[in-house]
Subunit: 155 residues, 2 copies
Amino acid sequence: MPGSKTEHQHVAASDIAHHVATKLAEIGQRFTSGRRAIVESLSHAQRPLSIPEILEHTTGLAQSSAYRNLTVLENAGVVVRVITTDEWARFELSEDITGHHHHMVCSVCGSVDDVRIPDGIEEALDAALERVAAKSGFKMAHHRLDVVGVCRACR
Amino acid sequence: MPGSKTEHQHVAASDIAHHVATKLAEIGQRFTSGRRAIVESLSHAQRPLSIPEILEHTTGLAQSSAYRNLTVLENAGVVVRVITTDEWARFELSEDITGHHHHMVCSVCGSVDDVRIPDGIEEALDAALERVAAKSGFKMAHHRLDVVGVCRACR
DNA sequence: ATGAGTGCAAAGGCTTTGCATTAGG
DNA sequence: CCTAATGCAAAGCCTTTGCACTCAT
């Protein structure tokens, strides 16, 4: 496990493989070539990828293996399943690797891109959410925020 | 169409039926008993409902009709499909009826409840989102915000 | 060798669609 | 009357699972 890591910091690109290997080992899973290829794809894309997209980047990997490996990686805490529309699930590296961010979802083509907002807004938002949630007896773990609109390509 | 309606105001409960009827008429659709029953269910719940939940409240409606009617209502702009997890889609009345709000999603049982945050935070957030989105050539239409955590029943 | 990982194909589960019947305007 | 709406059943589509084979330890 990397030594220091603050809330907003992220794992350096060169250390992602090492980080993932460690997290997999923690749950008794191997860092196979297929899983390596998937992590590679996800770390190169600056956005969550769908299964079809992942398969394009990793030739020779069966669709079922992709699903299975992504589930393992999700259980290891290094991949998150992103549900935006009702078509395909998308997957991205967890925020302790990529850092906290949000998504811009194009309502025309369905593409999804990462976006970050100023820390100040983020903190005010988190505080407000925690407060209103607690009022209903709900214990907030984190928040999820999407910008819905039309992407550059579809304008 | 109701006379006055500001951004944060919502349609009075007693006027929902009339509002829906008008919106349906605008796209040449009838306000049938099945659709009336669905809107009735959605307006009584203070949270987005899944198809199974809607069917419980509206006896005698075929599942396929529920899906078809919800699609029609969605096209009419009075219902919104809410995607939270990968299990069931959920449906709620549009925000021009219910007012702008967000969702608390329980990561244990999957339940979803409505929640509102102070206007000030909402405005600051919207401004920040619009700004960062525009920087990428993305034209924001609206935002979507979920609080993920553990609900009162699951604590 | 020995169990995890993989590929292929079949099965699952939510959602959509085809078609004959019913009903609303 | 006549088209839209409904019910039932079948089909679709993403995702998961079963099973035999392969590979790494």
